[in-house]
Symmetry: C2
Subunit: 184 residues, 2 copies
């Protein structure tokens, strides 16, 4: 859970960060920022801030905003509607800083990032893809992946088919996808 | 049709334009530029240059690059697959310059742009939406629309569900969607 004051601080930081990075937003988009702390109470280590640009029945676009070295745990977007929808396809395109995406494939022996040690046991895909500004990677539906920002933090586009965040499957049983904000 | 030399000149102009506007591209994306002259042989007046960032079975993203005052005729993205696919949903997000989108709705009495006079008879939606950098508009499937760049040209994102350009329906019977490039 997040205290409301923490949530406000994170939201203000993210809004400032994307604008300093030159990303064009309209004032009304401020309210479209959400914070995922995953119920882990270690947001600086593990979590994600999201600016949702739009979501329709068919497509969505978000900006993922990450603190320096922030980690987001291994998960996948499963098939839905009795298999008529294969799961969310997600395209990551780098905008600012370095973003390290890990997917199934040959294990990267010396990855550029280090996930929090107590979260490593819930990781089993170790093929590293470095996403710098202008780089792009297509994550197929129902494919395990996790990611971590470089030491300066990172901002990336996430453009996808129908957004189904609440259906995401995480390998770490401690993760709760829905953020709970508590008044102090 | 376009002469190969004209096509090359347009492609080089577009590549230069997006980079000067600060859009981050990788060298390998140069080959993803396409030119739509719509078979009209008046590209400076009517046409579009497209940088396709990606296309999957479910989603696509393109950058639309337009010459000053360039016009793109009225069209829609029809339902496909016996109605199981409602037609392409397209989200326009402004990146550089002013882009004027026209959709069904209350007629704008003093639009900011003027389509080429000989093409006006094939326009019957006149509700103007100004898309400046950071502005965004969702075009529903199967909805008539046309657009025109402002006097400085324009660069916008077009993020969509499955790309079905070749199925586009144009109101102007002179339009041929597939570009033919001829060697001189």
């Amino acid at each position: 859970m997040l205290k409301r004051s923490e949530w406000r601080t994170i939201r203000d930081w993210a809004w400032d960060f994307i604008q300093k990075a030159g990303f064009q937003v309209k004032e009304k988009e401020f309210k479209s920022i959400s914070v995922a702390d995953l119920g882990l109470n270690e947001f600086e280590l593990t979590g994600l801030t999201i600016l949702t640009l739009f979501e329709t029945e068919w497509i969505g676009a978000k900006i993922l905003i990450m603190k320096p070295n922030q980690f987001f745990p291994q998960h996948k977007h499963p098939p839905l509607d009795n298999g008529n929808f294969p799961g969310k396809t997600e395209v990551i395109r780098g905008y600012w800083g370095n973003f390290y995406l890990f997917v199934p494939g040959i294990k990267t022996l010396a990855p550029q990032v280090n996930p929090p040690p107590h979260r490593r046991k819930h990781i089993d895909v170790w093929h590293e893809i470095k996403v710098s500004p202008g780089d792009q990677y297509i994550i197929s539906p129902n494919t395990w992946h996790w990611f971590q920002a470089g030491s300066q933090g990172a901002i990336v586009w996430s453009i996808s088919s129908r957004v189904t965040d609440i259906e995401d499957q995480f390998r770490d049983p401690d993760v709760i996808r829905k953020t709970v904000i508590v008044d102090e």
